[in-house]
């Protein structure tokens, strides 16, 4: 398979780069979908992984990494174009977003040379999937209260604890874990960022069935898992800083595929708005309000990209985009449910099934990656300078 994306990256002109991607991705996704038994299945995790593997083979990974690690060293504007065109072709997001979007840039910033050499090639090829061991049953929004413990032993640590809401843990080879290495320090100060193999005998994974019926999240149990010295990223007890920085690497591009999808769904829902009279007028108004949201979200995304390009430190604007996107996406799908009417009780057409699933999944979007309530605290405290509660 040729690495055509890599070759395309050499083009001088952004518009030609975009046009090349649009054509190439549409063709590749179409071929991949037709070869898949039963055709495109964007919600099937095997299909998503398969497409992600293919994309990596064709040079669509490591876009922003330095060349010495096999990356393309593309500027952010080019990465943004890639994410936009990838979403536009209708392909789903992969299952190793955590590896590509969070762990890889974290290692590039904070990892040792040995860690980069060991892990980056397997992310680039998508051979190793990563998951993120942050939340615990007792630590949701209050992440710094994690109780998973890593006790010092000869040559490393012994890890014990219970993580939850860990996406794709059942498919992951590796997990980066935020664990307490100093139980006596203040809560933010006693944490370390550890790279843990999911193949360890003491690691147990139990998928959690969600209200959609699917199981993408898992519980992860660590029981006397040995973690060697070289698995520590950054300083011992310095994990909070790493975790906070890790969350910021995607800020320029995170919302791009979500906003493309939003505008695609907006057009889908528009087709469902029919009829005359007061109810139809109310639907048209709600749709138009959501079209305004889509417009403003695109402006926010451009602003975030420009800020990331300038190298500005991440600010609370990201929280505002998160709240705005997740809540307006829910409103869009609420409208879709109303428009579909009683047929939602037994969705039959692919469109009905897709929208009902999207509606159900959207209920998670105001909760994961920082609830709307926490995001509003961040805006109020950091943007407006209001005191902590």
């Amino acid at each position: 398979m040729t690495q055509w994306i890599r070759e395309l990256a050499g083009i001088e002109d952004d518009a030609a780069f975009r046009a090349g991607l649009r054509e190439g991705l549409a063709r590749a996704y179409d071929e991949f979908s037709r070869a898949w038994p039963g055709g495109a299945a964007p919600r099937d995790l095997d299909f998503r992984r398969g497409w992600e593997n293919l994309l990596c083979e064709q040079g669509g990974a490591g876009l922003g990494w330095p060349r010495e690690y096999g990356g393309l060293a593309l500027p952010l504007t080019r990465q943004a174009i890639f994410h936009e065109e990838h979403a536009r072709c209708g392909a789903p997001l992969g299952v190793n977003l955590i590896g590509h979007g969070i762990l890889a840039p974290t290692l590039l910033h904070f990892g040792t040379e040995a860690q980069r050499a060991r892990f980056l090639p397997c992310i680039l090829s998508n051979q190793e999937v990563w998951c993120q061991g942050y939340s615990e049953p007792g630590s949701g929004s209050d992440l710094a209260s994690v109780r998973t413990r890593a006790e010092r032993v000869t040559g490393g640590w012994r890890l014990n604890g219970h993580k939850i809401w860990t996406s794709f843990a059942d498919r992951a080879q590796w997990c980066f874990v935020l664990a307490r290495t100093d139980p006596d320090a203040a809560k933010h100060r006693g944490l370390s960022f550890l790279l843990v193999s999911m193949q360890n005998a003491g690691v147990r994974v139990e998928p959690i069935r969600q209200l959609t019926g699917d199981a993408e999240f898992c519980e992860v149990f660590f029981e006397d898992v040995f973690v060697p010295e070289q698995a520590l990223v950054g300083a011992e007890h310095g994990g909070w800083r790493i975790a906070m920085a890790a969350a910021s690497f995607e800020r320029g591009t995170y919302f791009i595929p979500r906003l493309v999808r939003f505008s695609q769904e907006l057009q889908t829902v528009r087709q469902l708005v029919r009829g005359e009279g007061a109810q139809a007028a109310a639907w048209r108004q709600r749709w138009a309000r959501l079209a305004i949201d889509s417009h403003v979200l695109a402006l926010k995304s451009q602003r975030a990209l420009a800020a990331a390009e300038r190298g500005d430190p991440p600010g609370p604007e990201g929280s505002s985009t998160k709240v705005h996107w997740s809540e307006s996406h829910q409103r869009l799908l609420e409208l879709a449910m109303e428009l579909l009417g009683p047929s939602i009780s037994q969705p039959e057409t692919p469109l009905e099934r897709e929208l009902v699933h999207a509606y159900l999944w959207s209920r998670a979007e105001t909760i994961l990656a920082g609830t709307s309530e926490i995001q509003r605290n961040i805006i109020a405290e950091q943007m407006l300078g209001l005191p902590k509660g």
Binding site: L299, R376, P387
Partner: protein, 329 residues
């Protein structure tokens, strides 16, 4: 430019001056004109600054933030149209640009002429009004204070125009669009200042032993207001860019109709009216009982927001804007 405008208005036009709108008068206008703002949109060749809407919305926003008590936005918008008849209006233009003369503005587009109001009415200010494609000039009429106590107004009454200038179709559309966007920016500026006051109060006012702003019911509603105004401001900037691009295309002879500029304006206006009114009202609530007093400045912003929203909505209501957004997509 934003910082310079902020500094100038904070010094020259504090709220104590805004509260004296009835008397503020022509000295203030003279100082404003020295900043070059009234002639921002006038081409350099005709004595203006030759700037675009991107810069104009910054000034309009600042005017709203500081409850500017002279009708700057209307003058900014009408001046380029007067320039189209430079030969006859040369002296008048020079007087406005130098700050000797300020115009009052009667809003058009209303079904009944007697429902129109003259913004910035004062005994020395000639009144301009757009009637169809005609820009008409009328004799001054003394103003008084209405609901918005920081801008003098007078009720419209029919009289014979002293002067009339028929504008090209494109020029009429441009004047109306610019006025709508700058009013939206002014409204957003006033609402932003109201939110600032509310935030300041929520940080300082203590009950149950802590600032009221530590309570999520208070901080979340203020965060929502901040988001709404941020969204309005972003949409206003985007609409300004669209208008400037459209002007440049027209200037270079490529005058294809720009649906996206019209759509961007409709969306910006909707967000400004909706978010601005919500934020100003929430700012009163945040102040508790103090917020409903005459002494507390927050009502001044609420009333500016209400007046501007009413003018914008009289020409195109919120539901009508949404219908337009639906149709334009």
């Amino acid at each position: 430019m934003r910082d310079a405008a902020e500094r100038f208005l904070a010094k020259r036009h504090p709220r104590t001056v805004a509260r004296q709108a009835g008397q503020a008068g022509e000295a203030l206008w003279h100082d404003i004109a020295e900043q070059g703002w009234p002639a921002m949109l006038v081409p350099e060749a005709q004595g203006g600054l030759g700037l675009g809407m991107r810069e104009a919305v910054i000034i309009a926003h600042a005017a709203g933030r500081h409850l500017l008590s002279v009708p700057l936005v209307a003058n900014m918008v009408v001046l380029p149209s007067l320039c189209t008849d430079h030969a006859r209006l040369q002296d008048e233009l020079a007087a406005i640009i130098s700050g000797e003369l300020c115009h009052a503005w009667a809003d058009n587009g209303l079904d009944r002429a007697e429902d129109a109001w003259i913004e910035g009415a004062a005994s020395l200010r000639p009144i301009w009004r757009l009637q169809g494609a005609d820009l008409q000039k009328f004799a001054p009429k003394p103003g008084g204070l209405g609901l918005d106590a920081t801008q003098a107004i007078a009720r419209w009454c029919d009289q014979e125009p002293q002067f009339q200038l028929t504008l090209q179709h494109d020029e009429v559309a441009r004047l109306i669009e610019r006025l709508r966007l700058l009013r939206a920016a002014e409204l957003t500026g006033a609402a932003t200042a109201a939110l600032d006051l509310a935030v300041e109060y929520a940080r300082e006012r203590e009950q149950f032993g802590r600032p009221i702003g530590a309570n999520q019911a208070v901080k979340h509603s203020l965060a929502d207001c901040w988001m709404a105004l941020d969204e309005a401001s972003l949409a206003i900037e985007a609409a300004a860019d669209e208008m400037d691009e459209k002007s440049m295309r027209t200037a270079s002879g490529r005058s294809e109709d720009s649906a996206s500029a019209a759509l961007a304006l409709d969306m910006a206006q909707w967000l400004a009216v909706d978010g601005g009114r919500r934020a100003a009202q929430r700012a009163v609530q945040t102040h508790g009982a103090l917020g409903i007093t005459w002494e507390c400045d927050v009502h001044l912003y609420l009333k500016r927001v209400l007046r501007l929203a009413a003018i914008l909505e009289a020409q195109c209501g919120q539901a009508d804007l949404l219908e337009k957004v639906w149709q334009q997509h």
